[in-house]
Symmetry: C2
Subunit: 219 residues, 2 copies
């Protein structure tokens, strides 16, 4: 069978046995958004039944559920499926990465830094996100430490992701549209939100130590 | 001028205008160890003059000084000196990386993941290590948070470092000697020690929260 021509940039990227997307952009993005909204709504409703969970903590639980499942399912599939671009059926997870590679062809091209960051994210950070939901719900002492640790991991991953692309010429998007929506737009949330949570947890941890110091002094 | 043949693996790595090491292995390693011992001794003596700094904290201050200066000077030089292997004088920092590349030729080959990890380590983690010395000495509330954050960064960097090499065939050492001494041996310390410090700081933070919870309950 002759190989299809791929839509990715750079054009000389070799992808033997590439099979084009079966689904349109909206057929890929819409189910992801719908499922995400359902997950967030479920966590929101369930966390509302528990007593004494602050509004901000309920929002955080929704975020950790959304990002944790994205890490484990979407990024986990990518990390361990080197041949996703050869997929001959409209399998949703393969379609996601065939489509996303228009924003960053290093995914289809199996760049080792990308695969490493995604594997670490899927295997370590994903389950840690789900643990964070439990830690917040049960007010564990390690709740903020865990949230800070995950956020720093997500931010480190984003640094590796963007800087390696910059060093290699920043020419992996099929068009400015895909560059700004997929490469910058989709990833931007994983810079913004972890930054905000990291700052919050950092302050909460410091407050815990300051409270302890005051207590010691008071004694 | 004809280019010298480089001693690195894989042999087909192209390094135009490569200039061999001027110094022997011992002439490179010995000054690094001597300067490190001097730095550690200085921090040890100075921290001993301050009152009420625990033995373990004095040891940690020594480590943060050693690793911080290594990050800033050695790794900082590498990150921003793409042409170090062309250096025509026995400039010490260039010699370090010409020698180290025998353990991992991705340094001479300017692998983008390596450059990114080293740049992040030099620019963010290096100064943060020096801040940790100050934080420990002045018993800042953020001392453990900062130490945990740096350790997680160092561990994430090591994960990227080792996994990318594995994915690319793990064939970047000039010999098993260099593989085990430079690639595994030298880097192993930055897996072991940050792991130990991260566990300690994690426990200290949890203890601070547990102390606060008990205080709240007691009230």
């Amino acid at each position: 069978m002759a190989s299809f021509e791929h839509p990715y940039v750079p054009k000389d990227l070799e992808l033997h046995d590439y099979v084009p997307c079966f689904l349109s952009q909206s057929e890929i993005v819409a189910p992801y958004l719908v499922v995400s909204v359902v997950v967030v709504a479920l966590v929101w409703i369930l966390s509302g039944r528990a007593s004494k969970i602050l509004l901000i903590d309920r929002l955080l639980m929704c975020w950790w559920a959304f990002t944790g499942l994205t890490h484990i399912i979407l990024e986990g599939y990518f990390a361990f499926s080197p041949d996703f671009y050869k997929e001959k059926t409209p399998f949703f997870l393969a379609e996601v990465w065939k489509e996303y590679s228009k924003g960053d062809s290093r995914y289809a091209g199996r760049d080792s830094a990308i695969v490493t960051v995604e594997a670490v994210t899927a295997v370590i950070e994903g389950p840690a996100c789900l643990l964070a939901i439990y830690a917040i719900a049960s007010k564990k002492a390690y709740s903020h430490t865990l949230q800070l640790a995950i956020c720093l991991g997500q931010l480190y991953g984003c640094l590796i992701y963007f800087i390696t692309a910059f060093l290699e010429g920043d020419n992996f998007s099929a068009s400015p549209f895909y560059y700004w929506t997929y490469y910058i737009g989709a990833n931007g949330w994983w810079v913004l939100i972890p930054s905000l949570i990291a700052i919050r947890s950092w302050k909460k941890i410091n407050a815990a130590f300051q409270g302890r110091t005051k207590k010691t002094k008071a004694n």
